[in-house]
Each structure stands twice: as C-alpha cells, then as structure tokens.
C-alpha cells in the first residue's frame, strides 16, 4: 500500500494525536481516556483523492459469512471511489478478541471490529473505540427503530457504546410430531419448569427393557441459559444493578432461583426424563435434531439449521420461566460492531460509520435476518420482502421478535456488564455441571462457582482503576 505525501501528513498528525491521548491516559484518567475519542462529521469524506479503506474484522463464516459478504459488496458498489470495505474472518468470537488484543499491542487495529456481547466491558475499558453514542449525537441519528432490548444491553451509563448487529435470543424448541404422538398440544409448548417436567413425563419413551429411546428434554449446560433464566426471573446476574451503576464486584448466580433450576435439571436427569448433554451446544443440537430429546433450549440462530436437519416438524416457543409467576423478560446474545478510533484517521472513522449505517437500514436487516436467522436489529427490517417471505414459510421465525417485544426493559433484562463476563459464564457452567456430575449439592456448587469469579473480578477492576 502506498501512502501519498498528504496522507503521510495525516498519519503523522494522527500519531501525534494518539500519542497525546496515550499520555493523557497515563496521567490518571480513570475511564482510560475513552471520552476523548469523538465522531467526525460527514465533511471529512468530501474531496477524497482515493477511496477510504475500511478493514472489517468479523466472526461470520459459512452461510452467515456469505450473507455478510453480499452486504459488503452491495455497500462497496454504492460507494465506489469513496469507501471500500474489506471483510476479514478472524475465527470465532474468542479468537477474534484475542487477535484484537494482539492488534492493540502492536497498534494495528482494524477500522471496524465485531466483538461478542461478553467482551463489551473490556472494549469500553481498553479505550480504543469511538463510542457509538458520539456518532448518534453528531448526526442526530434516530435509534427509534432499533430493537429496544439491544439498545438496553449495549447502553452503559446512558451512552450507547457499540452498534448491535448480529444478535439473537434463546428460545425453547419442540418436536411437534412427538408432542402430537404424546397427546400434547404443540401449539401450547410448556412455559415453565414444572410444565416442562409434566410434558417430559409424557414425551419420554422406553423400549421393552426399560431403556429410554426418546427423552422428553435435553439441552447443553450453557452459561448463556443461566443469564437468560435470571433475566426472566427478574434477578440481576451481578451486583451494582448488573454492573450498570458502577463496576460489578460479585456475581449472583448462587441465587435461590438458579439453585432451584439446577436442582430441577438434576432431578430430570436422575429420573431419566432428560438426557445428560454436557457443555457442548453442538451435542444439544444433535440430540434434538436426531429425535433423542423432544424439547431443547437454543438460540434463535439455530432455527434454520433445526428445520433443515430434522425429519420432524420443529416448533418454537418462548424460553421457559423458572416458575410461573416470574416476570418474564429476555436478554440478548451475539455481537456488536465497534469503530476503532485510536490510531485511525478521521476519514477511516467516518467511513466505518457510513458502513455501519448501511448495515442498520431496514433493507440490509431484512436480508440479514432472512439469510441468517439473527434478529433484525432494525425492527422495520421484519417488513422487508426477504424477511416477510421467510416468515410466511416458517412462522417460527417470528417467535424471537415477539419474545423480545414482550420483554420489559429494565436493568435485569439489560444483562450484566462486567470485564470478566466470559470467565463468569464458564464458572457458572462448571458449578452447574458439578451439581449434575457429582454428589455436591446445587447450592454448594453454585456458591463455590461464584467464589471462583471473585479474584478475577478484583484483579480486573484493580487493573482498570489504577
């Protein structure tokens, strides 16, 4: 890549600016200097000599990657000579985050990067990105059409920090054929744990020797489900109002509600109403599509695959409540888009934002939702031709949007904001799994798991507050 003299001047200026930012960061600004990065206006893209290059790091491969590439191509065609976006697949979310860390160390971050929900607090603390709110304020961008549950998650201390893009929410899936055979109504799937157990008792099929050939229920020991169960029960996952009124100092998944959930899960397995899956969600999916388990929990993103791979009719319902009187609500998962400011020119920052705006249009979201099964971030996207066609063919696709629309917006449904969220999720899974695979009681296992996260939280908080 050649750098024109003019560009070299800009690069030098940017270097000076970023040096200044680093210095000011060192002088003890607690927030890590993130507030210093602001969005440039549209004028920086006037009078360009050549197209601004935007490198976009993402974690979308296979079908999802193809749909994303299609959108990138469309944007590049519309902006020929002005902006050119290059997508670069960086492996799964964890790998992409590790790659981004290395890039920060070397001062070579991509212009635009997709980071999963659990990395949100880390992205804020690393102080490399221009807050999303800054772009909204600069342009007076109206977020009215953007899904509220998503804005709720990615808004921290009143400011939107990143742009939701590939997001999902978990649902309960049922084998409609098995429901009918068992004399259950497939249009009214169970809504809480007690109902799942009742249905499972009728759905579980044994052979003449008493060996189970079809289980009523089976889902992976996946930490995201605990986060979802807690949001639906209206209890926070971590303290300080889910880490949104100040830094979280402890996790709360030893809550009696979760102990109740883990005990229920254990009894389901002991009574051979549920198949023991382990932590791998692929195994949970395989148990469902092969007909081994008649009910499962999975992301909206799995719906397309389920319909394709099952030789029975797939039904979808709301994610269950722990008990019938829980308030409901729903949190989201998936990833959001971050525009790097540190070490990038105003042109690059602005060009990235132009591309993000394109992705958030109803037209793009209709294509994205229909092609991948992810939510339409822009709720108007559901009215697009691609999305409508998909909804007509598979009405199950509208369950997720309805579940989110039914969800109350509060701090519990916003989800926990914490720097060591990934470690917390793994600890929750291990506590849950300990109860399932040993004599340790659910209460003991879950409280030991919360203790395990204490040191990582303390160390993380200390290292960002120094």
């Amino acid at each position: 890549m050649t750098i024109s003299p003019q560009r070299r001047g800009i690069t030098a200026a940017a270097l000076l600016v970023s040096l200044g930012l680093v210095l000011s960061g060192c002088s003890g600004d607690g927030s890590g200097g993130t507030g210093d990065l602001v969005a440039p206006g549209p004028e920086v893209l006037e009078d360009l000599d050549e197209a601004v290059q935007v490198e976009f790091w993402h974690s979308m491969d296979a079908t999802n990657g193809q749909v994303l590439d299609g959108l990138i191509e469309e944007f590049n065609a519309q902006n020929e000579g002005r902006i050119e976006v290059t997508g670069a697949f960086q492996g799964d979310y964890d790998e992409a985050l590790a790659g981004h860390r290395a890039a920060i160390q070397q001062g070579e971050t991509a212009e635009l990067i997709m980071i999963y929900d659990l990395g949100t607090q880390f992205m804020i603390d690393s102080g490399q990105t221009v807050p999303a709110q800054s772009f909204l304020d600069k342009d007076g961008y109206d977020t009215g059409a953007i899904e509220d549950a998503l804005l709720n998650y990615f808004t921290v201390e009143g400011d939107l920090r990143s742009f939701p893009f590939n997001n999902s929410t978990p649902l309960m899936y049922i084998n409609r054929d098995a429901f009918e055979e068992a004399g259950l109504d497939p249009d009214a799937p169970p809504t809480d744990l007690a109902e799942i157990r009742e249905a499972a008792e009728r759905l579980t099929v044994r052979d003449d020797d008493g060996t189970v050939v079809q289980y009523g229920f089976g889902a992976a020991v996946y930490g995201w489900f605990i986060e979802q169960f807690m949001a639906r029960a209206g209890t926070p996952y971590c303290d300080n109002s889910n880490g949104r009124d100040g830094r979280a100092t402890e996790v709360l998944f030893d809550d009696p509600k979760i102990v109740e959930l883990v005990e229920w899960w254990e009894e389901m397995i002991d009574d051979e109403l549920a198949v023991q899956i382990g932590r791998n969600t692929d195994d949970g999916q395989a148990a469902f599509t092969s007909g081994r388990a008649a009910m499962t929990l999975e992301s909206t993103g799995s719906l397309g695959g389920f319909i394709e791979q099952s030789d029975f009719e797939v039904g979808a319902g709301y994610f269950p409540l722990i008990s019938a009187d829980d308030p409901g609500g729903s949190i989201i998962g998936g990833a959001s888009l971050w525009i790097n400011g540190e070490g990038h020119t105003e042109e690059e920052i602005r060009a990235s934002w132009e591309f993000v705006q394109f992705l958030l249009t109803p037209e793009s979201q209709s294509v994205w939702h229909a092609g991948t099964g992810y939510l339409s971030v822009n709720t108007e996207g559901y009215e697009g031709p691609e999305a409508k066609e998909r909804a007509e063919e598979f009405p199950q696709f509208s369950v997720a949007a309805a579940q989110l629309a039914d969800s109350e917006i509060n701090e519990n449904t916003a989800g926990c904001m914490m720097g060591v969220m990934s470690e917390a999720r793994v600890a929750a899974e291990e506590g849950w799994e300990t109860a399932l695979t040993s004599d340790t009681s659910a209460e003991e296992a879950m409280s030991a798991a919360t203790e395990r996260v204490r040191t990582p939280i303390e160390e993380y908080n200390a290292s960002v507050e120094d």
Partner: protein, 314 residues
C-alpha cells in the same frame, strides 16, 4: 565472542610450535563458530528468546490487553500450591500413563501378532499404521461423534448387544479415559510403524538360533524379539510420553477440559489461562508453562537414567 579473542592473537613475536598450534586452534574455532552461527541464531531466536520471555512473563502481572505491567516475583508459582493445581497435575499424570502404557503395549502386541501372519502382512501393517495419517482434529471430530452424549455411535452398538449405556464424555470418572482411548488410537499407527521397522532389522540368524534352541511362540517373542526391539521401544516410550504431556487438540475438541476440569491437563490449563475465555493472563500461563517444561525434562531424564540402561543396542 570467543572467536574475537582468538582472532586477536595473530602476530606472535616468537612463532614457537605450541603458539602456532594455538593459532591454528584459534582459526579452527573461528571457522567452527562461523559454521555454527546460523544454527545458534535460529536457536537463540526460536528457543532461547521465547524461554527467556516466558520466564520474564511468569514473574509479571498483565493489564487487560495482556501486556506485562507489574512485577509480581514468584507469586504465580506460590499460587500453584492449591488442590486445583494438584488436580491438574494428577490428571496430567493419569492421562500420560493412560496413553503411553496402552499405546506402547498395544503397538507391540499388534506387531508381534502380525509377525505370525504370512499372507497379507504388509496390508495389515498398513491398515494398523493408518491412524498415523489422521490429523488430531479430524480424529477427534470422528470420536466426538462416537461419544456424542445425545446419540453416541458406541452407545448404539452397546444398545444392540443389550449392554448398559456409557456416559463417555459427561461423567467426571469416564471422560479422561475416553480422551485416552482416542489418543491411543491415534498414536497406535506411529507405534506400529516404528516397531515394524525395528522387527525388520532384527538379524534372521538371531531368530533361527533361538528356534534351534527350541524357543517358539510367546517365549520367542518375549525373550528374543522384545529385547532386540529395545532401542525402538525406548524411543517410542520417550516420544509418546512427551507427546502425551503436550496433547491439546483432542482435549479441546472432545471435552474442553471438562466435565468440571476432569480432563484439564497442564497444557490445557495453560491454554485456559492464556486464551480460552477472552482472558489474557499470560503471567499465570507462563508460570505453568515453565512447570510443564520441568515436568517434561524430569520425565525424559528419568527415562534416560532408568530405562536406557536396560536397552540393548545391537
């Protein structure tokens, strides 16, 4: 550096024979260092530097980006004195034993049994050596289908025979052995290759002499063939121990270190600290990496000290 001082000594006032010899030796040393330079450079770059860096990192804490930002002395090593880390070491030991012993014995049995087969021996040897051609990833994916909790192929077979179902990957007691079985299967091919080559190089006269003395079957195998395979067996034990201690892919794909850490070996623990969950605790990971280095060194030293004495090099 050594060469520099040697070269400096080039104009002796009184060229006596011992001096000349020293000068020649100096020149030879220069030449030797020149020839060694490329490998020394590569060694320094890819071994000495990373090792030094690991020591440095192990004594530092990290900021959230993963940059070392504070000196913590030996506290990462002191922290290892916990039941959890003891569990990791125990798992590593059990895994190594569970891979090396059946792996070497299995390969030996296969090779000895194939000795008795006259027709199609090469074909069978080839078939047994085949797992060697599988990458760790593809073999692990195949076994994950065999073990899959919902619809395990192996459980399907057990079911046909009316046998109990086995919780291959979902029980803390079983998961480690399931990973061992996969690893033994993968290693078997290499073991068969090495031992078959060894058996081919045993002089015919040795076997003939033993036969004339009346040795047959098990006796011939145990008292003649096995001792003659000493060097190959020793090599195989050392190599498979080191491989077992460094195993990663099959654990990552089959169990992710679970359930509840029951398959978390030292290497997997290092990975978890350094990379697994968006973490970047390179300090603790490096400290554990040094422990791994010591474990591998000690194992290899013990094997050379104890086993090699018993090896008969023909």
């Amino acid at each position: 550096m050594t060469s520099g001082t040697a070269v400096a000594d080039v104009h002796p006032q009184n060229p006596a024979p011992p001096r000349r010899r020293r000068r020649e030796r100096g020149r030879e040393a220069t030449l030797a260092w020149a020839f060694l330079a490329p490998s020394v450079a590569v060694f320094a770059l890819f071994l000495a530097y990373p090792l030094g860096r690991t020591v440095y990192l192990s004594m530092h804490g990290n900021d959230i980006i993963g940059r070392p930002n504070r000196f913590v002395g030996l506290s990462h090593f002191a922290e290892m004195a916990t039941p959890e880390f003891g569990g990791v070491l125990l798992t590593t030991l059990l895994f190594t034993l569970g891979v090396v012993v059946p792996g070497v014995v299995g390969a030996l049995v296969v090779v000895l049994l194939l000795e008795g087969v006259i027709r199609g021996q090469r074909l069978l040897r080839g078939a047994f050596a085949l797992p060697f051609a599988f990458s760790v990833a593809s073999a692990s994916v195949i076994f994950s289908v065999f073990y899959s909790p919902g619809n395990s192929v192996l459980n399907g077979i057990l079911y046909r025979f009316g046998l109990d179902q086995v919780p291959w990957l979902t029980s803390q007691e079983m998961a480690l052995w399931s990973v061992c079985i996969t690893t033994v299967w993968m290693n078997l091919g290499y073991g068969v290759l090495v031992l078959a080559a060894g058996i081919g190089s045993i002089p015919k006269e040795v076997n003939e002499a033993a036969r004339i003395d009346g040795a047959t079957g098990v006796r011939l195998a145990w008292d003649v063939t096995v001792p003659m395979l000493g060097p190959q067996l020793f090599f195989l034990i050392v190599i498979s121990t080191i491989n077992a201690l460094q195993s990663f892919g099959q654990i990552h794909i089959l169990t992710g270190g679970g359930p509840v850490g029951s398959t978390t070996t030292l290497v997997y623990s290092i990975y978890q600290y350094a990379f697994a969950y968006g973490t970047s605790d390179f300090g603790r990971a490096s400290a554990q990496a040094l422990v791994l280095l010591v474990v591998v060194l000690v194992c290899t030293a013990i094997q050379f000290g104890v086993l090699e004495r018993k090896v008969h090099y023909a």
